[in-house]
Amino acid sequence: MQDPRLRLFSVTVLSLAAFASTVGAAAAFVWWLLFTPRAKSLPRPGVLLPLVAMVAATALVSSWGGGAGLSYLVRMTVILLLASWAYAETENGEVLAVAVWALGNRVGFEVGLVAELGISGISVLRKEIEQVRMAMALKGIRPGARSIVPLAVTLIVTQIRRADEVARLLVVRGYTIGGKTCPRFRADPLDVPAAIAAVIPALLSTLPLRDVFILVG
């Protein structure tokens, strides 16, 4: 999907559908199978698997407490797949362009800039994690519960410092509020049908399907 406006719309609607119900998540998964490059849009296993493991652990705890753990696992995994696809497809400047298109050069530029900085921070964070892991390996510290605290401390401190440096750079360059950009969007012939199809899971997630089947039965 090339048009970032339709991509943002689709991923928002599908994520809400997946979060709302298991049926919505199943329908969103079918959409993901039909309209995305599937496995090609996924990050490498070293990034995706820990996230899925965290969701699975939460689901397990929920099940033990009598909650809907399996439903949570399915819904959150589908949301992770959608987020991975949206992140892989997003190019530099697209979020800023969409925000300016939607909200104008003042508020839209602010919102878009914050979003762009946040998204660029994800790739920086990934590289930082790799570097810290390597440094720990050099000291003979194996990945595990003991390595989580120093890893988290280093990442938090470096990210805060980076945010501070970026903020200072913006001030030095004269940034105050808002900006000007003329967003232009490319579109693929499949973009509109895919965005319309994204509404179906949202509708399914709001329908009381169980009641419908009882009536039919």
């Binding site: 440094a135 050099l138 000291k139 390595s147 401390v153 280093t154 401190v157 470096t158």
Partner: protein, 232 residues
């Protein structure tokens, strides 16, 4: 003791690194511009990346230590003394070498990057590994600290030391020069014979060579001595 690169090929996205050669005992300088592949080569030599083709063969190398370019990545302890201890060292020794004895109980993140660099460099040197890999050891250091770092490196009298750096002002005495250019590693050979063919030679060496001097090594003092010799 030696490390051999056998037709090494490593690719990542659109970048490809290629290299062959042997790192014998002594100090090796791998120079080249930023982004030429020096850090990637350091990770390959440390065994933290696997080559796509070819191999990195270590002969007689039992211990390896790599110092990463950004010293904050090494931090795993809440105090400076604890940080030195996490390298398996006696904290007092490491802190004395890094000139940070008075700050043993401080948070390592409260150090400047230059101070942190001094600390990690001191720790890496005190561990005295067979293969010591230093990725940009002079970045973030002022001239005085760079000279001190060079003297610390020169005192290391055994093992293989490989310095990956784009530094062109303050350099240590080295035994061999290598160059990275757009992902290709080229061996310039042993010093002093390698100096005239060194593409990224610092300006003071170029100046000395242009005036007909033949420096015995790559430091500013070596260039000065060579110039004094020809001028009588």
């Amino acid at each position: 003791m030696r490390v051999e690169l056998a037709d090494l090929v490593f690719s990542q996205d659109s970048f490809t690194l290629r290299g062959s050669g042997t790192f014998d005992e002594g100090v090796h300088l791998v120079s080249g511009p930023v982004g030429s592949g020096k850090s990637t080569l350091a990770l390959l030599l440390a065994g933290l990346l696997r080559p796509e083709r070819g191999a990195v063969r270590r002969h007689g190398v039992l211990t390896t230590q790599l110092l990463l370019q950004f010293p904050e990545h090494h931090i795993t302890s809440p105090t400076i003394a604890g940080e030195a201890a996490s390298w398996g060292l006696v904290p007092e020794d490491a802190l004395a070498l890094a000139e940070l004895s008075a700050r043993a109980d401080d948070d390592p993140f409260h150090l400047s990057r230059g101070e942190l660099k001094r600390l990690t460099l001191a720790c890496a040197l005190l561990r005295d590994p067979d293969l010591l890999l230093l990725d940009e050891p002079f970045s973030s250091l002022d001239c005085t600290a760079k000279r001190r770092a060079c003297r610390m490196l020169e005192k290391r009298d055994a093992g293989i030391t490989v310095v990956f750096s784009h530094e062109r002002a303050v350099l240590p005495r080295v035994d061999a020069i290598w160059e990275m250019e757009e992902g290709v590693l080229a061996a310039r050979g042993s010093v002093p014979d390698a100096i005239p063919s060194w593409q990224h030679a610092p300006p003071y060496l170029r100046c000395a060579l242009e005036q007909g001097a033949r420096p015995m090594n790559i430091r500013l003092s070596d260039a000065r001595e060579a110039l004094c010799r020809i001028r009588g």
